[in-house]
Amino acid sequence: MVKKKTTKKKTKTKTVSRIVVDKKRDALTKKKIEDFGSDVVDSSLSQREPSFEIPTRSVTNMKFNKKKRILEMGSNTQKRSLFNLGQSKKFMQSLLLAKGCRDLIDAQKTLSLRGMYYMSLHTIPGTKERTFHDQSESDTILEDLEVSLDGLREELHIFAKKRGTMVGNITVVDNGDEINCRKMGTGGYAIPSICEPNVMQFKNCDADFILHVEKDTVWSRFNEDRFWEKHNCILTEGSGQPPRGVRRILHRMHKELGLPVYCLLDCDPWGHYIYSVIKQGSINLAFESERMAIPDAKFMGIRAKDYERCDLTEDVKIDLNDRDITRAKQIAAYPWFKDKRDWQKEIKTMLRNGFKMEVESLITKDISYVTEEYVPARLKEGDFLD
């Protein structure tokens, strides 16, 4: 769900001093990986069971920090040991991938998640078993490694498939290249998967706010209508659940440039959850919430009441199925939604309606209804869910 990143060579940065910083960071990561190996060796040679601890990445080990208004990871850990039938393969895979990351650091190269899968894929000698069954297996193990080594993915020289687009009144410096986001044509600037300050800096920002939309179809509508120009904003899109790069860049622009973030998402539980991830952080990556969550982000729409408010036709209704209903109730029960009366009301209205609506449904009114009427009206009214 949450992984993507642009290819970028961490080592090729602008200044001499930055290379030194990277080397330090790499050396630190390398040491962590090698320490992990040494632990296994030590316990093996002293006939103790080789094992390591992984912080639990599940909803039971999540805490909602009310003060910071973000999700944080609890202190629960899981033990992964070699001599446990259910864990021994995963244990072997963890070591294999750790070795892969160390080799990447040594080679001063980066790889995608899929590249990593292929790098560590082989048949175990003497058997017909392969080290990984499919990529999803290696992806999970890599996330485990990230949290247990307390190293970010980029520190392990791994990136995800990049997703997400940006356009607007801003110029960014990406790995030394200046990119004017006002002149990105119809395609927009592809947000890289790693948007750390050492790689990306902001320059010349004239925007007043950021509008984040759910997917590229909607984004194209806004771009084509030059919405960001008229309303002086930055327009981003995350192809559904926004990947780390998008969330990181939103966070940084919000924090460093003081831009408010408005979200235009579908009126369904999945849209609501995208908002929740942008605002508080995700359960899976709770350890990164501090660097990614935007507690002040606002939910602009689509609202359940828009069916009447915008006078939409029957045709746009999509019936809620059982899964939607279950998920909506789950979301309503999350601690960070539980105390928000507006949100409770919103979800209740949607459930009472019995249908969901996509952003594109506004096209039934007029091709550019969403850019010319809907969003400007909401901005004017200041009618957002928080």
Binding site: V41, F83, L85, M92, L96, E129
Partner: protein, 576 residues
């Protein structure tokens, strides 16, 4: 009694009753004749304290005619006794005494001889030698059926240096008779094989009608103890027998009769019994009529009398049982159990059970039940036998076997049940099935359960071992990868690491082995069973290499190889 029987025409008696004695059809008749000869040979050698070495030769003369020759290394028979033993029906001491022995009625060998005479007209040929320095006698005799008296056809004396008996003494009997040879169940082959199981101290050499030689080797070099003869126990007799005993006793007074002719009655107990019957110890035996005898019988029934002495019983013993089973049955697990002696109707008896499981035994068929009484195999009337019912009533599911309702279990199991008693209660004179006494069945079930529990422990351990080895192989698969990774990360020697981890994997899977079993007891990795003297576990590989032919070997070697290959591919599939 022997006198009164002399008056009956023996030929008439025999012609009418030969089905009762086990001569109903040619196949069974041949088996019965052989059985009587072998039983006699074993009894004779054992009583003389000689380890039996018996040669059985069945020669086919024509389609329906056979000559059975049985030679033993016993003490030999005095020339003067030969006629009586082989030529007279119902001669012998076995009928009246209470002593554990193979034969009971004293009909045996002479009946076989008579059957031969009736069907072929040929006499019985007996050669006997009583010592190295003595000549051997060859006697050919017929039975005069109307008088039950032997007629000597010829009598030859062979010189002292005759080489027929290697030990210098022994007896050989040859009977020609009408018969039928067919392998398989209830055959001569099966009888001899089972005899070998129950008599591991005997060496039996068998030359089959097809001229093959099968040797059942001796595996125990010790003779069983000589059983002691006992007097009847008062609780074990019926009113008629009591009256008969009163008529025949040499005692004059009741007290003397009770203490002298029964076991377990002393002067005090005799006085008590007499008093209860309204008599005294001084009452003259002659004055006791039918009414008094009946009172005496009742007083015996209502008085507590100590159970008979059981040292008259000589079981095969767990060790010898296992040795016997081990040499004839190809299985991987053997267990035996000998119950303490018990009593039915005043007769002491003892039950022994041995089981064999797995290995080369067929998996699909029902379990095989081998029944024995006083070391003699019982081949007929299985389902009416008490032992068969005991097997069916035991719940084998508890021990990891499948069992259809009200039936014996299925699977690769052989159950051997042996009853020893001074008087085995057969359901008929042909000695085919043991009568169903509650006391006997209870003892049988207890013995079966004892063995079953050991089997259950073994089965659970086997399952656990399979599980553990699966675990171990899973670990072992990944240990190589881990060692290489660690080597790459830390530079530690791959081999050293691999060995250390393998050692740990082994230890850990062994550790899991010795955890609690289903009954909550600590299982010390088979050590308990290994230490148990009543259990033998055969290494499966060793078992497969064992050659030779056996009635119990149902799995063809080719089939076995195929199944093991199948297993291997399945394992591979699972790995994927």
């Amino acid at each position: 009694m022997a006198e009164s029987q002399r008056d009956i025409s023996v030929s008439e008696f025999f012609a009418k009753n030969r089905h009762l004695l086990g001569f109903d059809n040619p196949r069974k008749a041949m088996l019965t004749a052989l059985k009587e000869a072998v039983d006699n040979a074993l009894d004779a050698t054992e009583e003389a304290g000689i380890l039996p070495d018996i040669l059985v030769h069945v020669l086919q003369l024509s389609e329906t005619r056979f000559r059975i020759t049985v030679k033993d290394n016993g003490p030999g028979i005095l020339r003067s006794q030969i006629e009586n033993i082989f030529g007279k029906l119902l001669y012998g001491s076995k009928f009246h005494r209470l002593k554990m022995s193979r034969g009971q009625q004293g009909i045996g060998i002479s009946a076989a001889g008579m059957y031969g005479l009736m069907t072929t007209g040929k006499p019985v040929v007996i050669i006997s030698k009583t010592g190295k320095k003595k000549p051997s006698h060859e006697v050919v005799l017929k039975i005069d059926t109307s008088k039950n008296r032997p007629t000597i056809v010829s009598d030859t004396e062979h010189p002292e240096d005759d080489q027929l008996f290697a030990d210098g003494h022994g007896t050989q009997v040859a009977i020609e008779l009408e018969g039928k040879y067919q392998k398989g169940r209830q055959s001569i082959d099966e009888y001899l094989e089972q005899t070998a199981i129950a008599n591991p101290h005997a060496k039996i050499t068998y030359i089959t009608p097809t001229n093959e030689t099968i040797v059942f080797p001796r595996v125990i070099d010790e003779l069983p103890d000589e059983p002691k003869e006992i007097k009847p126990h008062p609780k074990g007799i019926e009113l008629g027998t009591l009256i008969q005993m009163l008529e025949r006793t040499e005692a004059r007074q009741l007290g003397g009769f009770l203490t002298g002719d029964f076991c377990r009655i002393g002067p005090t107990k005799a006085r008590e019994l007499a008093k209860r019957a309204g008599m005294s110890g001084q009452t003259w035996v002659k004055t006791i009529g039918h009414t008094e005898a009946e009172k005496l019988y009742e007083s015996i029934q209502s008085t507590r009398i100590i159970a008979p002495n059981t040292n008259c019983l000589v079981p095969i013993g767990s060790k010898a049982l296992l040795a016997g089973l081990l040499k004839e049955v190809k299985a991987e697990f053997f267990a035996a159990s000998t119950r303490p002696p018990s009593v039915y109707r005043g007769n002491p008896f003892q039950i022994e059970v041995a089981i064999a499981y797995g290995g080369g035994l067929s998996r699909e068929d029902s379990a095989k039940v081998l029944r024995f009484a006083n070391r003699v195999p019982l081949l007929y009337s299985q389902s009416s036998c008490c032992s068969f019912k005991a097997v069916a009533e035991t719940s084998w599911k508890n021990y990891g076997l499948t069992q259809p309702k009200n039936s014996i279990p299925t699977g690769s199991l052989v159950v051997m049940i042996h009853m020893v008693s001074v008087w085995v209660p057969f359901t008929s004179e042909s000695k085919e099935a043991i009568a169903d006494y509650d006391e006997i069945r209870k003892e049988m079930k207890l013995a079966l359960q004892e063995c079953g529990r050991k089997l259950g422990t073994y089965m659970r351990r086997r399952k656990r071992m399979a599980r553990e080895s699966q675990r171990r192989s899973a670990f072992e698969r990944y240990i190589g990868e881990i060692s290489r990774c660690c080597h790459a990360l830390t530079g530690t020697n791959t081999n050293k690491l691999y060995k250390a981890l393998m050692k740990q994997a082994k230890r850990r899977t062994e550790e899991a082995d010795s955890q609690l079993d289903d009954e909550g007891r600590v299982v010390d990795n088979g050590g308990k069973l290994r230490k148990d003297e009543d259990v033998i576990i055969v290494d499966e590989m060793k078992d497969l290499q064992m050659g030779g032919e056996s009635l119990f070997e149902n799995d063809k070697p080719t089939k076995k190889r195929r199944t093991s290959r199948k297993k291997k591919t399945m394992r591979k599939r699972r790995k994927k």
